[in-house]
Symmetry: D2
Subunit: 346 residues, 4 copies
């Protein structure tokens, strides 16, 4: 099969770097162009020195890319800037957008939470929310896929089948999330300095994080009603990994075993969903560098409640890996192409 | 004032080391004896090299200590071994026990959760559960103080006043706790190796951790009824610090402001309770090396719910510092004596 | 091409795990048997949970493996136990031994530094010291390859060509080495606990580390005379990576440019030697998870001296990756088969 | 004794924070004013939240401080900006300057290495280079003390007595230094982000670091001749700590024992110099948070050479602690006042 030509917009950040790490071993892809505003004109060896010598093109300005030769664009630009960039692409180009810009079916939700007008509302109707395990069919046909946020990926994978099956109550869903620091991006910020992060942890964005409406949208569709969930993110001193502990109320008579049964049915044969056997708990280090989502569930000591535990690598299943999985679906490649890494341990 | 003579049993672990760090600057204490089973006969410089040259006595076997000259013993022995050790002390000696061995008023609870018979039930009646801010009067008179566990300290400090005041519901209390690795102790275990811990995180002891009944005991007394709380501990790649995110149902009409008001009244003048102003979130790095418990509360997006956030240093307010605070109360010293450190940042 | 059958002895440690990570994506290999003394009988999911679900065989005792079906054994046993294990293998089996047991041409050197008699002196004559870039021809024919130590790999790669060319003096070679903690192995030791390692660093094994004679052997052969080098290892709070700073005296008239010229000639076309351009310094994070050795050299402010800097991943080019590279050479596979990873960053 | 009034210029960085941590427990000091350009007008709780509630004054602009009431200024401003600031102070104020601005007796050396003209050459003649153990008498009288750099402190403490005694050769001194990340300061820089630092290490500033001439100045004075030393700094993923491995040529007939003898004579009774017994190696974690410099020396395998090992906390003995030690000497306080911390371990 001929390789498709891809371009990455915003190639100099951590998500861009991770896309490149994965695409360099992808059998069906040729990295044809890299765009990075501030680093335009620089070779990869200056911006991402661990990728030097791998035959990658220099960083360019987006406007210097000839999109006529490009089959797919990965857009890893900051929230609020992707809408205009995607709107500026010719229609022959398919797009996986890793920002939040096309994730909300209801434009008003986007505008309320992101605090700015939507710049491409006509494209929003075309965009498919790309959680592959739950929307494979629609992704296959899509021109624009909105790649899910890192935090929203595990709770949707874990809870959507449960809500659809009525196995948990839609009220009182509490998500306690812990993330590594790469999620904060590569921009120079005091709060992300090593000495501000190492040897300590804290919550942030409590009851106001922008991933809340994205989680609520996914859960709400599954439940067939509006959902407001609790979501509390924390920053943990590690590079990669998201661990989410989700506290749910079971439907009457339900228990962890019933949850596990629904998951097994929903996710049979899924290559990236790892349902752990009883007694084994997820761990971010078991998925580091991989596209896997580990899940398990336990009965809580609180009667009628269960504890759902999930772990992903925020840069892979939470960003670049899922984006490539979406591309694989869009172009009819093996869904696991380029994504068969084993976790880097230790 | 003359200095009192203290002995530490189990001086070679992290809690023992932390007691020594703090006691070395305490104006009213003389460290007269150190016991450490496996390290008996060794100088401090071999076992705790960072304390070399500070005039500390060599490690001994407990049976080689003349307790006639000792005023107070800090017992930092493993759970299950403290009962017999304390039972073997002459009655002139007062005790702060840092294990779980004397924490449970109901001996059956101890025996169920720790899986062994209580070896000193007659002493249990004498023991006072030593959470200073909530039991100062009883501690003053006590001969044996059971120092609270690390995880149970913040939820009791945060929730006991609220339960007493009826400001939160006693059902459906969910505690999501994150701890640094020093809490796992200094014993050589594969699971505590640097390479098994760094760059990753996970939950453990889900719905079965031994600190659950201790939390439930404290909250139950405050509520005047049996409480079962949800408690999920996690291990985070840092040496020190516990961060707990507690999800509670407010009493009808309640809100975060009401919670804050109760705390302010309860803890006015408390030197080690730091109620953060609105908009400031606790962080383990702001309490590292100190005896402070930071607390704040926010209204949840889930209607009728609030999120309580707490941070302590597990080795200080969660162990050695609280033990010294208890000693200060028992002997009539300034309660802050030896405990006026500033956080080590960064 | 048919896949060869390989067995790993000592599969439960970090080196065993890393061999498996790499072999799972190797196109010419089938992992037929795993031996691990203490873990015999257990599935991989218990011992190395990040490798669960990858179709690997359970751990066995070595004596339960049928070596008639095995083409190559990777022996990742501790020093001093590999000699007997390898001696017990049938002669149809080829061996890459990752211990120090077959690294010393002079048995007396082994016995002096490792403090025990050599248990298979007759096999020593057969063993080839397997630094691929410098001994490719001999490796191709070998039945037993002694895989180099982690610390000795970079200084030999950097200095052997220089000593052969007479570009540096054989006296006064000073090697200051820094290693991540995975190099200390997976055994439960207090000194390797997270809390003994994180947030600090120190030297160890100063002027007495067992990698000294291995370095001296390699450099001495290149120089055509006995060499005693200075070697000081340090432990750094990270999982992976070795960084070595080597201080050398240049031959009369020499400079860093001359060194670079010799390297370029020696290593033209080598896939795993990355000679950095002037002004770019090696970094362990640029080689994390890869088989690459990064190198550069700078003129020192001390007249007549140069500073050679090298970085590898101790578990890959310093152990498992190099072992696979040796296997690739022994069996005529592409030398880069299974070794085309991109560094995991961040 | 009445407390003296001190002001800190540049109070919002890591060195400023560390001065405050130490001064808050100093019995003879009152923190009267804090200046921080960008943070002027903000309370300490916003800039250094771990110091909230300790009664510290708000951050101000330097020009808003009434220096008539100030006895001593700690100047923690960036290099190149301290000269003008100090020149602007009234002469009643004594100064400990923590920048490099007054460290060089030869103004030309400053201008060559720092690339700008000296802005207060007339004050340079007045400034005393404040390494307390080696210049106590001159510090006592000084109005302006130039506090030594972090990296230059250990090699001067270790080698100056040896050079004075002729115990080592002044040529071929090789210093391999490893530092924690707080040394890079609190400014938002991509290179200091957690994700650029954690899980990796590298050298930087090789053969061109600005601490080279400072080391050479100190060693040269001791040797009575110009010295050029080799100096290679490395960045290690930890917050605090400097570890230096120094490779020296012994004078004819010398050995490690002779070195140790000279140190013992020179440093008898010094409270902050910890000469370790044979077989004990320095470690940054044993001095974390303290003003101690640990030192030891071993005979090298290279004949006629020795390996000197030193560890300090870069923010204490390498900056704020040493500055306070200098203040103590200048004002006739106990030299250890405010500096009797025990290392924070773990």
């Amino acid at each position: 099969m001929d390789r498709i030509n891809i371009a990455i917009l915003g190639a100099s950040g951590y998500t861009g770097a991770e896309l490149l790490r994965l695409l360099l071993v992808h059998p069906c892809v040729h990295v044809a162009a890299l765009a990075a505003g501030k680093s335009a004109g620089q070779p990869v060896s200056s911006v991402l020195p661990h990728l030097a010598g791998r035959g990658l093109p220099d960083m360019r300005r987006m406007e210097d890319i000839d999109f006529g030769e490009i089959d797919l664009v990965f857009c890893a630009l900051p929230h609020g800037t992707a809408q205009e960039a995607v709107a500026g692409l010719p229609r022959n180009v398919r797009v996986v957008d890793l920002s939040a810009d096309f994730r909300f079916a209801d434009i008003k939700v986007y505008e309320d939470w992101y605090g700015k007008p939507h710049m491409a509302p006509e494209l929003q109707t075309e965009a498919v929310y790309g959680l592959p395990e739950l929307a494979r069919g629609r992704i296959r046909q899509a021109r624009i896929v909105a790649n899910p946020g890192c935090y929203p990926t595990p709770p949707q994978l874990a809870l959507v089948p449960l809500l659809r099956a009525g196995a948990i109550e839609p009220e009182d869903i509490i998500i306690d999330a812990k993330s590594g620091v790469s999620g904060a991006g590569r921009e120079a910020k005091q709060a992300s300095l090593f000495s501000e992060i190492a040897e300590g942890m804290q919550a942030y964005g409590v009851a106001c994080h922008r991933h809340s409406p994205e989680i609520d949208q996914g859960l709400g569709i599954a439940a067939g009603r509006k959902i407001v969930s609790g979501f509390t993110p924390h920053l943990v001193p590690m590079n990669r990994g998201i661990f989410e502990s989700i506290y749910v109320k079971l439907a009457k008579g339900g228990d962890a075993a019933a949850v596990r049964r629904i998951w097994r049915e929903t996710y049979a044969g899924e290559p990236f969903i790892q349902l752990l056997p009883e007694g084994h708990l997820p761990s971010t280090r078991q998925v580091r560098g991989t596209n896997v989502c580990q899940m398990n569930v336990l009965d809580d000591r609180l009667p009628g409640r269960a504890i759902v535990l999930c772990a992903i690598d925020n840069l892979v299943k939470g960003a670049a890996g899922q984006a490539i999985q979406n591309m694989n679906i869009m172009f009819g490649f093996e869904e696991t192409a380029g994504l068969i890494q084993t976790a880097l341990f230790p």
